[in-house]
Amino acid sequence: MSAEIVCEKVSLGYETGTVAEGLDFTVHRGDYLCILGENGSGKSTLVKALLGLHPAQSGSITRNVTGIGYLPQQTVVQKDFPASVREIVRSGCLGKCGFRPFYTKTECQRAAQNMERLGITALARRCYRELSGGQQQRVLLARALCAADSMLLLDEPVTGLDPKAQIELYELITKLNRDGVTIIMVSHDVHAAVKYASHILHIGGQTQRFFGTTAEYCGSEIGRIFLAAGGAEHE
């Protein structure tokens, strides 16, 4: 089991101060890691750091992957954007284009394959803004796969989706994981995390509260508190 990402005693922050410290975890090939924590706990900063967009204040982040496919939280512009599904999925290949202005045939084929994989080939010519929330997320997922198909980093992918669409998306992500894609997912949803993920990373109070397998999490004290609290919220 190769270690694809290794974080050693990492602390993250901005000029204004440290947001999270003591982050120490490893992601292996084929893992399904779920990052939990409340708002403001430093999850988005960690995401940026993992993608290489934000430097760590101290400690080291080692990446042994060629690329990470990223599914960001949606921005307002995207919802109105006139773009066909095919155009969006193909744009995932851009990272490898360099200065070349057009996509190669291989890249177009890869985009088509990923669309097939996620069951959205029929939507290829449709306008993105006309799709349902769940369909839109699948388009963005296909795009992420085009960028890098060995590891995906998903930032709260089910936010704003209705329950049925949420379940469908989780199932899809699990299927990808079974096909060999390493998954790192940032989420609010403790119950879903526990149900689908293989490992859990819990950040809170500006520090790492837990890292380990899901089973260990359920047995741990913080795990039990969070699951109970999460349960209470749903009722």
Binding site: G67, P82, L94
Partner: protein
């Protein structure tokens, strides 16, 4: 038909009519391509803002007495474009206020400088034609046309070369950065091209109407077309057609060129709104 004959006769006989069409159509094309990107990045008012900065720069250049005012106007506008657009998507309120402040400030100071240090006999005429572009496009020199053609070729070439990147950076900048595309560089290129087009387009429609030229074709196209490529193509076609019709009508009927073109653009926008309402109902 009589009018059409007259127009063709004018076109053949008078060089300035040919210059007007050449420059007008090229600038309309370039502005429309940029327009789609700027509107989607929520920078619709950048046209107005930057053209006021260019106006202020022109006032300063007029005082210095330089024959080729572009030496001052272009760098200043370029710098402002980079400063205003470098934040990428205009999500912060700070960006909106910055454009407003710089725009109005440049306009006010430019106008004051032009009045306190008048470099020509007809200050209000100059101001009028720069802001509203009454007949600027009909009084072009051959060198103006050459410059415009060169710039248009550069802009269109850049747009074709970077088309996919511009699309990606406009749609989702975060994703671009994450997948290794240098989003900042492409935002910079967009800013520079915008500045160049706006400085050029001051000759065409004047400061105040540049925003219209950038936003109306894009907005019209977005009502009806649903892919980025479709929107870009439609926007370009609308912009060029409206510019052609606008110039034709203003030559035949002695109306101000800028306003006529924008009226044509508005008419097309209303038509496209109608089309989208009708097709929307049919689809349901």
């Amino acid at each position: 038909m009589n009018e059409l004959q007259k127009l063709i006769d004018y076109f053949v006989t008078y060089p300035f009519v040919r210059y007007a069409f050449a420059v007008g159509l090229l600038i309309a094309l370039c502005a429309s391509l940029l327009g789609v990107t700027l509107v989607l990045k929520r920078f619709s008012f950048i046209g107005d803002g930057l053209s006021h900065v260019a106006f202020g720069a022109m006032a300063v250049a007029a005082i210095t007495g330089l024959t080729n005012k572009m030496v001052i106007i272009l760098p200043v506008t370029l710098l402002s474009a980079i400063l205003l657009l470098r934040t990428g998507q205009n999500t912060k309120i700070k960006g909106d206020a910055a454009i407003a402040m710089i725009s109005v400030g440049a306009l006010a100071i430019g106008y004051m400088l032009m009045n306190v240090f008048p470099s020509s006999a007809n200050v209000s005429g100059d101001v009028c034609s720069t802001l509203f572009g009454s007949t600027s496009i009909l009084t072009l020199k051959k060198s103006d046309v050459t410059l415009c053609i060169i710039m248009a070729v550069i802009v269109i070439a850049a747009f074709l070369l970077f088309y996919n990147k511009i699309f990606a950076v406009t749609f989702d900048e975060n994703f671009c950065k994450a997948s290794g595309v240098n989003a900042n560089a492409y935002n910079l290129i967009i800013a520079m091209i915008t500045a160049a087009i706006i400085v050029l387009a001051m000759n065409l429609v004047g400061s105040l109407l540049i925003s219209a030229l950038i936003i109306f074709p894009a907005l019209s196209a977005m009502r009806v077309f649903r892919s980025f490529r479709g929107v870009i193509l439609c926007s370009a076609v609308i912009s060029v057609l409206c510019a052609a019709v606008g110039i034709m009508l203003s030559i035949l009927f002695s109306t101000p060129v800028g306003s006529t073109i924008v009226t044509a653009d508005i008419a097309v926008f209303l038509v496209f709104c109608g089309i989208s309402a009708v097709t929307g109902r049919i689809r349901r």
